[in-house]
Symmetry: C2
């Protein structure tokens, strides 16, 4: 234990499409799908404390996945997170905070767990809190993860699209994950399965963004502002889709810039979550 | 296709201990064990060419795993590698060249394969060439991979020690991998299983280096110079072991420096192999 605590960086994760896979066991539940991990992400610092608290960008917050992770690790800690990505807009901030807390608390409290055990704890916490279905396992892998089977690392199956790409994004607002998931899960899962088949058949960036756009349309998740931005990028000759689940549009290369937007710019992240 | 070609970086991998797992199917064969991926590694560039050639640090070489990967991808290319790690000394250079070639050729020749497919091809090429048993899958994951089950990504099972650490190493000479493996594979596998049990039970750096030292002794792989260096680090209060299979000693922190050696210095690599 040190006064400075232990730090972990977890990449953001924008999901292009997904399925909803329920299971009584949270380490088996989750989703299949595909997304981009981002060089923009969340830095989490864990320090032992008298009582557990959680701060995001300097503001005290209630963050159920973080509380669940600390409970699982039997750790009482002050968790401070600095986020380089928007909150509640489809970037996996809750998963990042859960995973970063697990990795850093394991060091800080000398819990001697393995990577898979820590990822399992963070994934289960995110699922049980209703804040995410597949961000954690994607954020632990890095790159452009394809989630072939749901759940934590002992149950799931991952692959990846072996590419690196510049990513631009704009966020118009937030969407409530639980509300959207409860609306019509069957429609989402059916559209997600179609999209996944396409990307498994051809694991390329083009195939991913096509499958993601069709998913957003078929799952009826597009908002007017998101649709407008995707169309504008397309008219400017680029490729864009919607980040699930947020009112966020991501594009490859200079897609949003070319369409006249003033986007955030980052890239796909080549590593999974890492200790600093 | 571009004149500059496509580049990939693959981390070096020092194996602390391993088992030998034979199988007629090279994607199922390999080894279990544990090692460190390193920020020192190999940068591989692939360019289309009239005939396939391979260069390592400016010198034309025959590299069977690279030829096998190019064949599998139906690619005729000039492969140039710049290695920041010693050749033939237990750093997984052959695996790095096979994996880097697979990742870069997939882009350069637009082969549209997935990460797992490329890792499988590179792993099979390394195994079939007799140049490595488990480096490729470790180098694809990054960090400090624990190989719980052998083979490529469709068959194996990986975990990791969730730590980052400064690594020092010295190399005294090379060992021939095939010769050592043929000498007494049962003894190696038995010692490797004991070591793996220890690290699975306690996935920490200390446990890894203890298990590695005991493995090196029990498998009778220590050379006099390697034993002397490990003992010198120990007497100086540090932790070191032998890189399998090379006449190489690695230590954590400043272990070799404190023992009076003039080591190379790097760290564990937080990412697996990546496109540049």
């Amino acid at each position: 234990m040190t006064d400075e605590g232990t730090q972990a960086f977890v990449p953001g994760h924008v999901t292009g499409f997904f399925t909803i896979e329920r299971d009584d066991d949270p380490t088996k539940a989750g989703s299949r799908g595909c997304g981009l991990t981002l060089t923009d992400g969340v830095t989490v610092t864990v320090r032992p404390a008298e009582e557990s608290t959680c701060y995001l960008d300097g503001t005290s917050i209630e963050m159920e996945p973080v509380e669940r992770v600390l409970d699982a690790l039997n750790a009482t800690a002050r968790v401070t997170a600095e986020s380089g990505i928007p909150i509640g807009s489809g970037f996996g901030v809750s998963g990042a905070m859960a995973l970063g807390t697990a990795l850093a608390a394991n060091v800080e409290f000398d819990r001697r767990l393995s990577e898979n055990e820590l990822i399992t704890i963070a994934h289960g916490a995110d699922v049980q809190s209703g804040t995410g279905l597949g961000d954690v396992v994607a954020q632990a892998r890095g790159g452009i993860p394809i989630r072939l089977e749901p759940g934590g690392p002992h149950d799931n199956e991952l692959d990846g699209i072996p590419r690196r790409v510049r990513v631009e994004y704009v966020t118009f607002g937030d969407l409530s994950t639980p509300d959207v998931l409860d609306d019509d899960p069957e429609r989402i899962t059916e559209a997600g399965e179609t999209a996944l088949s396409r990307v498994v058949g051809e694991p390329t960036l083009t195939s991913f963004v096509y499958a993601s756009r069709r998913f957003a349309r078929e799952a009826e998740l597009l908002t007017p502002r998101v649709r407008d931005a995707i169309e504008a990028v397309s008219e400017a000759g680029g490729e864009a889709s919607m980040a699930m689940l947020g009112e966020t549009v991501f594009a490859f290369g200079t897609g949003l810039t070319d369409a006249g937007y003033d986007p955030q710019v980052c890239g796909t992240h080549s590593a999974g979550a890492t200790l600093r």
